[in-house]
Symmetry: C2
Subunit: 191 residues, 2 copies
Amino acid sequence: MSEAVLKELEDVKIVNGIDVDVLSGTVGAIEADPDLGVSRFHATNKWLSGNHNRTTVTSFYGAKQEIAHKHVFNLDADEPAILAGEDKGANPVEHLLHALASCVTTSMVAHAAVRGIPINSLESEVEGDIDLNGYLGLSTEVPRGYTALRVKFKVDADPKYHRRLKELSKFSPVFNTIVQGASVDIQVEPK
Amino acid sequence: MSEAVLKELEDVKIVNGIDVDVLSGTVGAIEADPDLGVSRFHATNKWLSGNHNRTTVTSFYGAKQEIAHKHVFNLDADEPAILAGEDKGANPVEHLLHALASCVTTSMVAHAAVRGIPINSLESEVEGDIDLNGYLGLSTEVPRGYTALRVKFKVDADPKYHRRLKELSKFSPVFNTIVQGASVDIQVEPK
């Protein structure tokens, strides 16, 4: 390869598999114009039958425009037999675990990348406690949702960064939505 | 078919595609022994590269035992190009929308079924607001998570039930986790 090409390759800063220049470019653009950060994520859901339904994600609003995903994502949810489902997909509270685990993972990896902290490997276990007496309406005193969730990471990175990595994971929007809570408005209209 | 078989078929009470006897059986068992309702849902997540990671769901703890799903569910998350991802999956905050939409849908359908309220069709749009200035660390005053979420159902059911259906959707564990908030403990350990 020519020296020019080699120089160009050197200039591409990839940390943790993330092109740091691309991410820093987005961060810089929003820093210059904070309104670019105002985002609205959205999806549609269709009930199929019983406990089986499907969410479709096609695009999102960010950087003052609607941005299409490269693919249409179809996500199925169902319930296991004990809740009279057919187990055609993970159930909604398991999808919440996925949202949480994926978000704290991405937040840690991406924030580490822009700070030049390399991570070699990263896995986690996520779990949460629900007493179904609340959901099933058997007790008004039992909360209907998760009462406590836990994420345990196993990370291969320089131990001097472990404490920092834990803090970086807490930039996660899903983590903060659950810990801080958020309003959810539900409307039911005729078809 | 024999009269006995025909009688048996008549006795299977299917409402909204849900075998109400099965669901009522679970409800009755938990009512008789509330400890059966104590559940722990769990999953593992593996970082693949960059913003791409995968959650695996295989079983859950409920009814005082570990119960295997019929299938292993692999759920991928990634980020779009603007956040330096490769768009190999919906992103974590979109997965949270799926968790919410699927949970309020299932809660409405199942609770309607045991109450004998038929639903012909049900679709919804779900959306939420996030200002990325929080996640990207550009402002400590901007919340990092969703600040408001909205679910708009279009339902084909007797209009006299619409108000009731809205209330039934609020049995949803994911809805309640977000509205009430929950603790999330994060641990980082060496691999």
